[in-house]
């Protein structure tokens, strides 16, 4: 097995080892030791990941498991694809090995990058947790769960087939449930855990439907083979599979949307976004690791992995969902007062950016933003954890204020993260968000040039405006926490921070600043090249992740009808999109500068509005329409109320009806049956008592009577017996004599 794959498998298994050790011995190890074990294991994973990255850059050759051929791997050369047969389930029509539920390892530059990011963030979160969870009575269990989560997350990222992804997909969902409900004594935490789990089930149901369609048509093949088989889905044409079966466009779209629904649940996209804000009930390190940096990004990662097999319609759907989410969440974040809720909605909004980027075809932009977002959002959450720790678990920003003087390192690193997420030029967030907007502009330009609706510009305009809003609400969050006068003097006086808490913050701050330079985009571009080099061996038409925008594909698809199908498609959508993209460069330059002023405006307005705490904001709330809007946003646009009014009410109504039905109809039938059986049995009982028992008792009485008659002569007196015997013999003799004589 090639060295990078081996190292990554080792990196995946180390947290599992930590999980097993802590599961059985965690309680005995006790407070700091369990944390050290968990941290050293995930630290080992990080080292393995970095080593894997180094060996990956070196490259090499490996034996392809299925075809036995010797393939090149390495950055920008080719991926490592090692599927393993698992469960045989009849026959499929895949060209790879059909009819198997396979798992396997797939390593390309994206995997390497994700491993480095996840293990880095996870290690820092572990270190942070040792201090943050210090006083918790279930300290070892916390690290047990973290170990399981890290194993699941790394297993998800290394997964080489859709089924493999799905298994670990469910495992991370389980860990999320366990960790959200970590403080299960709190009713709200236990409810939030259940809510997260159930909401994710809804999404996973969609995933299963999508996977079912996929499995029916091509089986559970490894990722690159999947791309090779269905890579032309982006053209919007039906695909004729090797077995001669036609995979219709509708089915492809349904499959794509179904698989995407898994991502909707996991990445908390509209309309399944409601669980993520509630998930903030979990410990803050969990929020940083799972609900900001890694697990929620798994949805984006999944869409990234299945990107080539998405049809134009599915991509448009994905883009719209992302657009709705990013807008809605950013607006809600403006009005939240709980520091973690602000960050939660900010996460939703940024995930919306990524999903939308996927939808409009900006594969690199989406995953680039995923990585940079992981760093600065983990930093924000850990920073908020440090604040909450300093403030003795007070999370409401109205209680904060002026904390910069008391916890300066947290304040500064948090500020760096705010600048990064706001898209301040030369910080990591700037590059990634700029790339997404850049591609959105190109997408819209292309749509316009094709004579499409002007509304495609919404995919550019709305995210741009929301980028200002992002800058505004993050600045607001920072100002309310760290600036101005303390609003709770007692809390302010007792605030403090410790090195264990802020060392991880400093490391993350470094990556928040420098994470956007060269390395990450280069890795992503390499990943595209690797996929192409692997797939184009079998499918020369494959254009991979930098394939066309959906619109171009649809257009060229409809134009190609009636003529030779393949040539115009290949020409039209790749070259057309690239041309359009190049044409849009001039626009993009203008938009970028526009964006730059926007960030300044967002941060500036946030600073001005909240420089004196809540005083100006309170005045604004008292003006009527603004107050209403504020309440509407503060209550999260009433989504929870809407869901409880619609879905919960329907379920509750149905369950009440069923309870009524159960109580009166089913129970009635059961009771009737019981009553009739009771009646019948009492009749049978009477029969038994008087007829059957009567007969038996009669027999007994009869025998007893006969017996008492017979036993009367049995006196037990020997002399009596002798006498009777004599008399009987005498009588017998006398009788015999009489009989003889009478003859």
């Amino acid at each position: 097995m090639p060295l990078p794959a081996l190292l990554l498998i080792l990196a995946t298994l180390l947290p599992l080892v930590s999980f097993v050790i802590l599961m059985f011995m965690g309680k005995r190890m006790g407070n700091p030791l369990a944390g050290y074990v968990g941290t050293s294991m995930i630290g080992g994973s990080f080292i393995c990941s970095i080593l894997a990255m180094i060996f990956w850059l070196g490259g090499g050759k490996y034996q392809d498991g299925i075809h036995g051929r010797l393939l090149d791997y390495g950055a920008g050369i080719g991926p490592i694809n090692l599927p393993m047969r698992w469960v045989p389930v009849g026959s499929g029509i895949a060209q790879d090995h059909p009819g198997y539920l396979d798992v396997g390892v797939f390593v390309d530059s994206l995997t390497i990058l994700m491993f480095a990011m996840i293990t880095l963030v996870a290690t820092l979160v572990h270190v942070f947790s040792i201090a943050y969870m210090h006083e918790d009575k279930r300290f070892p269990r916390f690290f047990t769960y973290l170990g399981l989560f890290c194993f699941s997350m790394l297993g998800l990222v290394i997964g080489g087939t859709a089924l493999h992804l799905f298994i670990f997909w469910e495992l991370v969902g389980l860990c999320s449930y366990l960790l959200i409900g970590f403080w299960y004594e709190k009713k709200s935490a236990s409810n939030a855990a259940i809510k997260a789990f159930v909401t994710n089930r809804v999404g996973d149901f969609g995933f299963l439907i999508g996977f079912g369609i996929l499995f029916y048509h091509v089986g559970n093949v490894s990722l690159p083979n999947l791309w090779a088989l269905l890579g032309s889905a982006g053209n919007g044409h039906p695909i004729t599979l090797p077995g001669g079966v036609v995979f219709s466009t509708t089915m492809l779209t349904v499959m794509g949307i179904g698989l995407f629904f898994g991502a909707v649940g996991k990445s908390a996209q509209f309309p399944l976004h409601v669980w993520l804000p509630d998930a903030m009930e979990g410990p803050t390190p969990v929020s940083a690791l799972i609900h900001a940096a890694t697990m929620v990004a798994a949805g984006v990662y999944l869409v990234g992995r299945i990107f080539p097999i998405l049809t134009p319609d599915a991509r448009l759907f994905i883009a719209i969902i992302g657009l709705v989410t990013l807008t809605m969440a950013a607006l809600i974040a403006v009005a939240q007062s709980d520091i973690k809720k602000v960050l939660a909605f900010s996460t939703l909004s940024q995930l919306g950016y990524m999903i939308m980027a996927m939808g409009i075809g900006s594969w690199v932009g989406a995953l680039f933003h995923l990585i940079t977002h992981a760093f600065f959002k983990a930093l924000l959450f850990l920073g908020s954890g440090s604040v909450i720790h300093a403030a003795h678990h007070e999370q409401e920003m109205p209680q904060y204020g002026g904390l910069l003087r008391k916890i300066p390192v947290t304040g500064i690193t948090f500020g760096i993260a705010v600048l990064a997420i706001a898209g301040t030029p030369l910080m990591s967030g700037f590059f990634s968000k700029d790339l997404i907007l850049h591609h959105a502009a190109a997408f819209a330009t292309l749509a316009t040039e094709e004579g499409r609706s002007k509304y495609y510009w919404l995919f550019f305009i709305v995210p741009t405006i929301i980028a200002y809003v992002t800058a505004f609400y993050m600045t607001r969050c920072w100002m309310l926490t760290f600036w101005g006068k303390p609003r709770n003097q007692h809390l302010y006086d007792h605030a403090h921070e410790s090195p264990v808490l802020y060392v991880p913050l400093c490391v993350l701050a470094f990556f928040s600043i420098f994470g956007g330079y060269y390395v990450v985009p280069q890795f992503l571009k390499n990943s595209i090249i690797e996929a192409k080099s692997y797939v184009q061996r079998t499918d020369p038409q494959f254009s991979g992740f930098d394939q066309a925008w959906p619109i171009a594909a649809t257009e060229s698809g409809s134009a190609a009808e009636g003529t030779d199908e393949k040539k115009p498609v290949a020409h039209a959508h790749i070259s057309a999109s690239e041309e359009a993209f190049e044409k849009s460069e001039s626009h993009v330059a203008r938009f970028t500068s526009f964006l730059f002023y926007g960030f300044v405006g967002g941060i500036g307005s946030g600073f001005l509005l909240y420089r004196n705490g809540y005083s100006i904001a309170t005045k604004l709330h008292s003006t009527k329409p603004l107050g209403w809007i504020h309440t509407w946003l503060y209550r999260r646009m009433y989504f929870d109320e809407l869901y409880s009014a619609v879905f919960v009410a329907i379920v509750m109504g149905l369950s009440r009806f069923l309870a009524f039905f159960d109580k009166y109809v089913v129970d009635g039938i059961v009771n009737l049956a019981g009553w009739s059986v009771k009646g019948a049995s009492s009749f049978a009982g009477l029969t038994d008592k008087y007829v059957v028992d009567g007969a038996v008792n009669g027999m007994a009485t009869l025998s007893q009577g006969l017996g008492s008659i017979v036993r009367a002569p049995q006196t037990g007196r020997v002399r009596m017996y002798v006498t009777v015997l004599m008399v009987a013999v005498a009588l017998g003799l006398a009788g015999a004599i009489i009989v003889v004589l009478s003859h």
Partner: protein, 116 residues
């Protein structure tokens, strides 16, 4: 011969039979009226010996021969009966010993175990 010619002194079969009948009745009455178990055993012995007297008497007065030799079947049978009586007496005495162990008496009226 003198004796045999005198009707008065001649002892014939009838005398034996009468003796035997008398003994038999005595034994029987003893069995009926005696409450002492040993007494009952005595009665049994009397009955058996009455039968023995009959057997010997019948053999004596049947004059049965075989090949010129007189047959002694009755006497042999009587000896058998005596042996039998001895065996029976030993069993009966063993029963009485147990009986005495259980009831501290050999009064048969006290034993009602056979009562149905």
């Amino acid at each position: 011969m003198i004796l045999s010619q005198s009707t008065f002194l001649t002892i014939g079969l009838q005398h034996y039979l009468m003796l035997a009948a008398f003994m038999f009745v005595c034994g029987l009455l003893t069995m009926m009226v005696k409450r002492n178990a040993i007494g009952i055993l005595m009665g049994v012995e009397l009955v058996l010996n009455a039968a023995n007297v009959n057997l010997v008497a019948f053999n004596k007065f049947s004059y049965a021969t075989s090949g010129g030799q007189p047959l002694l079947t009755g006497q042999i049978f009587a000896i058998f009966v005596i042996v039998l009586a001895a065996a029976e007496a030993s069993v009966a005495l063993a029963i009485f010993l147990n009986y005495y162990n259980n009831f501290s008496t050999i009064d048969v009226e006290r034993a009602r175990s056979l009562k149905g």
